[in-house]
Every structure is written in structure tokens, then in C-alpha cells.
């Protein structure tokens, strides 16, 4: 049996670990709160954009009145041969199954699209590392962007892509974005959207999907694969795959949120309702530009805001996942300290008993 000193040392180390996980939980909770606020602050813009686009759809005759065919290329469905998949994971680990689950969903999506060419844009270091290992063949001109480039977005020239470039395989990584999630700005999402739209309209890709963790609140989150392009219906997410939290995960998340003091309420709907009136008042507007022109200028922004939203929610979800994981780790550490303390007391007691027996039997032998 181990001696008391060893066990005591072990307990001390577990206590230290518990201190770290506890601190990490509180830090994640604070970051989660901030991320939630940011996601909330982004809502009015998204809502307004959606509502004005919706009202423009009817005015600009975006859909052909006879055939019902959309006139804008970003709305038109076409044969799906080349797919772009945007995978949004976190930059850091220690967030429970957060990254793994996203990558699993992504892999499942890839399996469902076997036989087609899939390009991957990886956002987040964890996803990039995984995908690189899995699909090591990378075309030479992979766009690698680091936080440094992003500090001067104005000067960065968009990389020229040659369409004749040879594919490295049916599935390949075409873009990596690492370190952008900690200081997320709209310009990053809109740059990505711009490059995606460019590739889409040049016919390099036929559809764009986004795998990410949707986050409405701590208890309302799910893992989704969403179709970004072609846009099926403005204002409604075209969800292809969705996975809700399991009952157990939800309970754990609730517990962690309660102990860290994070609100679990869904966001206030009245803000949305007010924003939804934007650009759709029942009056005859003077359009400074023809409605179709406005529509064409706005639609790419819509794609950008969708990506931005997904990123914001993913960041919030990552912090929530880390908070939950750290809560569990703290509890486990407490359990471990308890059982180690018990073991230590037993050992100590056994030692005392043994000593008494020795003394007693020594006295009896005399």
C-alpha cells in the first residue's frame, strides 16, 4: 500500500488542477457572456438586411413571373458537382467534445457527398489540424491567412486562383483561417464571403455548405450543416443536418451555467420584430437605384452576415462547451480529492493500528 506522504502529494496536485479548471471555467463564462452579447448585437443588422431583401424580392421581380425561375445567380439551383464546405471549429482545445463533434458532423457530410469534389475552407486551428491529417494532399496555392494579414485587410490582395489548377484529390483543403476567432470582425467574414461568391459565380463551385455549432443560448444549441449557396429562401436557414444536445449534455450545460452565473434565457424577440420592419413599410418608396440593382448589391452582404453570424455563434458555443467541460473537470477533481483523502486516512489508520499491534505483541512477548 502507498504511504501517506505519496497520497498527500497526489492530493495536493489534484487540488492545484482543480484550481486551474475552476479558474478556466470562470474565464470561459466571462468570455461566453461577451460572445453572447456580440451575437446579440449583430442581430438587428442581420434582421434588417433580411427584411429589406425580402421586400425587394417582390419589387424587383427577382423570380421570373412566368417560370418562377430566379434571375439572380446566387439563388439559382444547379447540378452539384463541386462543393465547398466551410468547417468552423475552435482554435483551442479543452472544450469537451466541441471540436470533435463538429468534425464528426463534417466527416458525415463528406461521406454523404462521396463521388463529388469537395473543397474545404477550415476556420479554427483544431479543425485545420484534423483535416490536414485526414486530407494531406493540399494544392500548392492554399490561401493561408494568419492574424497578421488580417491586421491590414485593406492592403491584402485577393489571391488569384487559376481555375485550371489541378485537384489534389476529391477532397482538398483550399483555405485555412487560424487565429481569427479570438478577434472576430465583420470584415473577415465579408472577405471570406466575397471570395466564396467569386468562386461560386465563376462556376468553380456549385454549392456552399457551412458546418458549425449553432448557439441560441446555453440550452438551445445544435450542430448544423447549413447550405449557404445557392440561397434557397431568404430569411430561412437551409439546414441539411442537425444534431441537438443530448439530455445529459443539456443538464450538464445548465448546471455549469448556473454555477457560473450565465443567463440561459433566449434573446429578446422584440428587438427582432422591430428590426424586421426595416425597408418594408407599406409605403411607396423612392428607390434611388433600381430595386434589382439594390438587390444585387445586398445579396452578397447577406451571405457575409450569415457567415459572420455562424462564426459569432460558434465562438459562443465554444466558450459554453469549455465552461461545461471545466465544470465537469472541477467536479471530477473534487471527487478524486475525496476518495484520495479517504484512502490516505485509511492508510494512516492502518499504520497506527499496525504500530499498536507491534507494541502490544512486543510487550506480551516479554
Amino acid at each position: 500500500m502507498a504511504n501517506v506522504l505519496d497520497i498527500r502529494r497526489r492530493i495536493r496536485s489534484v487540488i492545484n488542477t482543480r484550481q486551474i479548471t475552476k479558474a478556466m471555467k470562470m474565464v470561459s463564462a466571462a468570455k461566453l457572456r461577451r460572445a453572447q452579447e456580440r451575437a446579440l448585437a449583430a442581430r438587428p443588422y442581420a434582421q434588417m438586411l433580411t427584411s429589406v431583401l425580402k421586400s425587394l424580392v417582390s419589387r424587383a421581380e427577382i423570380y421570373d413571373p412566368q417560370t418562377g425561375e430566379p434571375r439572380h445567380p446566387l439563388l439559382a439551383q444547379r447540378q452539384e458537382n463541386n462543393i465547398l464546405l466551410i468547417v468552423v471549429t475552435g482554435d483551442k482545445g479543452l472544450a469537451g467534445a466541441f471540436n470533435t463533434n463538429i468534425l464528426k458532423a463534417g466527416t458525415r457530410f463528406l461521406d454523404s457527398k462521396t463521388g463529388k469534389n469537395v473543397d474545404i475552407e477550415a476556420i479554427g486551428r483544431k479543425g485545420r489540424d484534423f483535416l490536414r491529417r485526414r486530407f494531406p494532399l493540399v494544392p500548392k496555392d492554399v490561401e493561408q491567412r494568419t492574424a497578421e494579414d488580417l491586421q491590414h485587410p485593406e492592403a491584402a490582395q485577393p489571391h488569384e486562383r487559376s481555375r485550371s489548377r489541378e485537384r489534389a484529390g476529391a477532397v482538398q483543403i483550399v483555405g485555412e483561417h487560424v487565429g481569427v476567432l479570438s478577434k472576430l470582425e465583420f470584415s473577415q467574414a465579408s472577405d471570406l464571403a466575397e471570395s466564396v461568391i467569386k468562386r461560386y459565380s465563376e462556376g468553380e463551385i456549385d454549392s456552399v455548405y457551412l458546418v458549425h455549432n449553432e448557439f441560441k443560448s446555453v440550452i438551445a444549441q445544435r450542430l448544423v450543416v447549413e447550405q449557404i449557396l445557392p440561397i434557397e429562401q431568404i430569411g430561412a436557414a437551409a439546414v441539411r443536418q442537425a444534431e441537438e444536445l443530448s439530455q445529459k449534455e443539456r443538464e450538464q450545460a445548465i448546471k455549469a451555467a448556473q454555477s457560473a452565473g450565465v443567463g440561459m434565457r433566449r434573446t429578446d424577440r422584440s428587438v427582432d420584430a422591430e428590426a424586421a420592419r426595416f425597408g418594408s413599410a407599406p409605403v411607396d418608396y423612392i428607390y434611388e437605384q433600381p430595386p434589382s440593382e439594390l438587390f444585387n448589391a445586398l445579396l452578397p452582404k447577406y451571405v457575409g452576415i450569415q457567415i459572420f453570424h455562424a462564426l459569432l455563434e460558434s465562438v459562443a458555443a465554444e466558450h459554453a462547451a469549455r465552461m461545461t467541460a471545466m465544470e465537469a473537470a472541477t467536479n471530477n477533481a473534487t471527487d478524486m480529492i475525496d476518495s484520495l483523502t479517504l484512502a490516505m486516512n485509511r492508510v494512516r489508520q492502518a499504520k497506527i493500528t499496525k504500530e499498536i499491534i507491534e507494541i502490544v505483541s512486543g510487550a506480551a512477548a516479554q
Partner: protein
């Protein structure tokens, strides 16, 4: 007729302005627009430029880059990709961006994306311009 209107300026990141204004100027895509209370309903794209509005005899300035405005008789809402108050503008960064854009334009390199560099230059110039109007 009321002599003010509600003004809201929204960016993807936050609500920048929620205020009451007596008059304002918007850099429309087809030129600057002056808005007074009771303006006819109007929708326009907003170009890179400077928004200014008056409120209690005090003029506020903001630098905006691409946006979209809805004008109603008693309400003006602007969706802008960026909207910065003079005190939020990073003058050094704007100056650097301006230099970079100017160099790109001067370099005569055929690979330069002129439209992009040009709009970057415009954005930087607007920011610098607005920054100087701080507290006027």
C-alpha cells in the same frame, strides 16, 4: 409637422447611433442627400463617405463605408458595414492604409486590383477627414 426624426445607425457589430436629429446628410451612391423631417420614403445605397447629423445645434460626424439607408418621414435607419465616430477612428491606421493604397495605385502593377485599392484609399481618406472634425 415634427421638427425632428429618429435616427438609427446599425453595423453588423453593434448599434452605433440611436438618436434624434433635426437634419442629416447621407453619402448616397448617387451623391450626398440632405434629409429633413418629413422626407418622402426613400431607399438608397450608401457609398463610402461621411454622415453628419444635427441635434440641438450640435453636429455629429461619422465615417461610413458601404451601407444602405431607409428614410421614412419620422425615421431614418442606416445599415452600414462600418460606421465610426471621430473618437473611435484610429488615425495612424488610416494613414498607413492610405499610404499603402496610394502606393498600390502608383505602382502601375497590372496585377493590382484597382477598384479595391481605390475604395481602400477612399475609406482611409474619409476616416482621416472625419477624425479632424472631432468636437466641432
Amino acid at each position: 409637422m415634427p421638427d425632428t426624426f429618429q435616427l438609427e445607425i446599425v453595423t453588423p457589430e453593434k448599434l452605433v447611433v440611436k438618436d434624434v436629429a433635426g437634419e442629416m446628410q447621407i453619402p448616397g451612391k448617387n451623391g450626398y442627400l440632405g434629409i429633413l423631417p418629413g422626407h418622402a420614403p426613400l431607399i438608397t445605397e450608401v457609398a463610402v463617405g461621411e454622415i453628419s447629423y444635427r441635434n440641438n445645434g450640435y453636429t455629429h460626424h461619422l465615417a461610413v463605408a458601404w451601407g444602405f439607408a431607409e428614410v421614412l418621414p419620422d425615421n431614418v435607419t442606416i445599415l452600414a458595414e462600418t460606421a465610426e465616430r471621430p473618437e473611435d477612428i484610429d488615425v495612424q491606421r488610416a494613414e498607413k492604409a492610405k499610404e499603402r493604397a496610394e502606393q498600390l495605385l502608383k505602382s502601375g502593377n497590372t496585377e493590382t486590383d484597382y477598384a479595391r485599392a481605390n475604395s481602400a484609399l477612399q475609406r482611409a481618406q474619409t476616416r482621416l477627414q472625419v477624425a479632424t472634425e472631432k468636437g466641432k
